[in-house]
């Protein structure tokens, strides 16, 4: 982990923040406060405890390695030019984990193999036959499986659109303006950013695809034959046309059948919230299907619009009380409904229609012992714990967390105070409490 600290600090660009709180006003800025675990610069890590040999790099994650034989093996996502983790971002808990690790690791699980097999089938079928939603209890690894699917498809040269935090679309944190033609609310800044990110990650593939029909926006026109990369670039540059450019891009991607498309959405349940946090001028809440971008995502997720080849993959987030998983989604995905259902309970017929066609892909709630052992070893190599990496520690952490991946890592490994016994203990000191640490086991 010490090497992780230095490596992360060396590679990240916005690092040199001193932690002298008195002098540095930026220490408590929002950016620094989010999630903590900001790394110190390498120059400040002089003490012997920070010195260590960096672990051997793990093998790269590639589509060929995802097989049943590699279940329980750790692979790392490479830092490529079109790295989706850098351009699209990741959910917050994953971001914090990757700040601590020296490489962007992930372990291959049986659900990874199942998902990739489904995606292989989806590459030849229209996407309305492959609308999957990863479900499972809190901390079972849905976001990680989604990220693995994104990396898999990208390596297979699909076009990948990954939205890691879909709740930012509905929680009133981005600009919105009403549009009379579509009778919905545009979110120009979000659309602009999404186009830029999609372009950054998929530029190579988008250069090969061209528009079938020309379009004429208010100030810009894109004739037939323009590459989709040029369309995305135009939309990313000008906020005024970004929303319509994104709508056009999706239209073109739906019409073509050469390249499969993956639409990956984390926080999937946020799109099905009965009321978004936005308010219209009459102060009534705007529904998510009256916002242009979520409407497009809902239409693709329900099969009302579909890609000729590809899939829509969503992952639920169960930890956000502001955007819980709604009744309509629970019924379609056949999830257990907590409280007894009442005939008078409010339901939305529109959301029921938009939830139709979603298929459940359950993620196992426990790591298998082999998978947990691989994850344990990976963290130990990064020196997350100063305790010796033996079976006793591993099994105790596995049992305490019940195999739940998030609990195993955060409470088991990172949340424990267990450490290695100190090596220099002066036996001659008469009072045990004055000796450093405890007496070693082997006397």
């Amino acid at each position: 982990m010490a090497s992780a600290l230095s490596r992360v600090s060396a590679s990240s660009s916005n690092v040199t923040k001193s932690f002298k709180i008195g002098n540095n006003k930026k220490a408590f800025t929002r950016k620094n406060r989010v999630g903590a675990f900001r790394s110190l610069p390498a120059a400040q890590l002089n003490l012997p405890i920070f010195q260590s040999t960096p672990p051997l790099p793990a093998p790269s994650f590639k589509p060929e390695v995802v097989t049943e034989n590699t279940i329980g093996t750790v692979f790392a996502f490479d830092e490529t030019k079109n790295d989706p983790i850098k351009h699209f971002g990741t959910p917050k808990s994953m971001l914090l984990e990757y700040r601590l690790l020296s490489q962007r690791y992930s372990v291959i699980r049986d659900i990874t193999v199942i998902t990739t097999e489904e995606l292989e089938e989806a590459a030849l079928e229209p996407s309305h036959q492959s609308n999957y939603v990863l479900t499972g209890p809190t901390g079972c690894g849905k976001s990680f499986v989604l990220l693995q699917a994104v990396q898999y498809c990208l390596a297979k040269e699909w076009v990948v659109i990954y939205i890691p935090r879909a709740k930012t679309l509905v929680n009133s944190t981005t600009m919105h303006t009403y549009d009379l033609r579509t009778r919905t609310y545009f979110q120009p800044k979000f659309a602009q950013q999404l186009l830029q990110r999609t372009l950054d990650v998929n530029s190579k593939v988008l250069e090969t695809m061209t528009m079938r029909e020309g379009v004429n926006f208010d100030r810009r026109s894109f004739p037939a034959g323009t590459t989709l990369a040029a369309l995305a670039a135009g939309g990313a540059k000008e906020q005024a046309i970004s929303s319509v450019a994104f709508e056009t891009l999706i239209g073109e991607l739906c019409a073509q059948s050469k390249i499969p498309i993956l639409l990956a959405i984390d926080d999937f349940q946020a799109l099905y919230t009965p009321k978004s946090s936005y308010r219209d001028p009459h102060f009534s809440a705007i529904r998510p299907y009256h916002l242009a971008l979520p409407r497009i995502l809902l239409e693709l997720a329900s099969g009302k619009r579909f890609f000729q080849r590809g899939a829509v993959l969503g992952a639920l987030t169960t930890t956000d009380p502001k955007f819980p998983v709604t009744q309509e989604l629970k019924e379609v995905l056949e999830l257990p409904i907590g409280k007894p259902r009442s005939a008078y309970g409010r339901r939305s017929r529109v959301l029921e229609e938009y939830a139709e066609g979603c298929m459940n892909l359950p993620v196992p709630e426990q790591f298998s012992v082999k998978e947990a052992a691989a994850v344990f070893e990976m963290w130990m190599k990064d020196q997350a714990l100063t305790a010796p990496a033996n079976d006793e520690v591993f099994l105790s952490k596995y049992t305490e967390s019940g195999g739940n991946p998030k609990a195993f890592v955060w409470q088991g490994i990172l949340g424990t105070l267990e450490g290695a016994s100190p090596e220099d203990v002066d036996e001659s000191v008469p009072w045990p409490q004055l000796r450093e640490g405890r007496v070693p086991l082997a006397l």
């Binding site: 303006t177 033609r181 004429n216 009459h282």
Partner: protein
């Protein structure tokens, strides 16, 4: 730095919070103002467009005379020219003009057919509203006609049954039954307009009540801020003084008005309470 009504709003502040610095605007009014001008919750003052700033400033300079918002309708969906508040039986209506929201099956006009002006789209929407209204009228008329036919049929059957019963009766029994039926009909309200007890009534007619002028449900329509609000407060206190009430006397003495303790802790009242109170 944005100046609204002479107040300097710092760039870094959330717009929803910055608006509360205006006297008379609290958090709920500020939320409504932001919704009116399509300012999202985490918008900072520096993110406001010049149009939004001008619109806000012009609205706040005279809230009473501002036009109602031209925004989208509420979630009930469907084309409507204005929203009628169904909860209120007094006929209080919301007089704000509304614009449409896309229904489930709505397909927007494609872009490659050329750019359509807003006026044309508005006209399309107005036509839809008109057609929907006409359709509702036609449906209502059809339903009424059906009901009329059904009730006429029912009355006809009842009359036939009565006649059939009367043909079976003879003599004193027959006269008694006819008299009883006549008495019953005299007090029974029929559907068609019949003179009963000297008063012609129909079940359809209701007593005519005078229609109240439509009140606006929108709190922003009657927004009083800054000088106008301070004047209002001062006028209220002056009125209390003029009528010689307890409240007026307490203000004049600079003491607490609402029954607070004065043995200790009346410092704010002693500082602030007076007849010509500023805010």
């Amino acid at each position: 730095m944005v100046h609204i009504l002479g107040i300097n709003l710092p760039d870094n502040q959330l717009a929803r919070f910055a608006l509360t610095t205006i006297y008379g605007v609290g958090h709920s009014t500020s939320h409504r103002l932001c919704a009116r001008f399509q300012i999202h919750d985490t918008c900072r003052i520096r993110d406001l467009s010049p149009f939004q700033v001008t619109a806000l400033a012009s609205f706040l300079s005279s809230p009473q005379s501002a036009f109602p918002p031209r925004g989208a309708t509420s979630a009930k969906g469907g084309p409507r020219a204005f929203v009628a508040n169904k909860k209120d039986d007094l006929g209080v209506t919301d007089i704000l003009k509304t614009y449409p929201l896309a229904s489930l099956a709505f397909k927007p006009r494609p872009l490659n057919r050329g750019w359509t002006s807003d006026r044309e789209l508005e006209r399309e929407w107005e036509n839809e509203v008109k057609e929907a209204k006409e359709q509702r009228e036609r449906d209502r008329a059809a339903r009424e006609r059906e009901r009329e036919e059904y009730l006429a049929e029912k009355e006809k059957k009842a009359k036939e049954k009565e006649e059939k019963m009367l043909t079976r009766l003879r003599g004193r029994m027959r006269t008694k039954v006819i008299a009883a039926l006549a008495k019953h009909k005299a007090t029974f309200k029929t559907r068609t307009g019949t003179t009963v007890n000297g008063r012609t009534t129909t079940t359809k007619s209701k007593p005519v009540q005078p229609k109240l002028p439509p009140k606006s449900l929108d709190p922003l329509a009657n927004l009083t801020i800054e000088t106008a609000l301070r004047r209002l407060v001062r006028d209220n206190i002056a009125h209390q003084r003029m009528i010689g009430s307890y409240v007026g006397r307490r203000h004049a003495m600079g003491m607490p008005v609402r029954g607070q303790n004065t043995r200790s802790n009346a410092k704010t009242a002693k500082k602030m309470n007076r007849v010509d109170r500023w805010g």
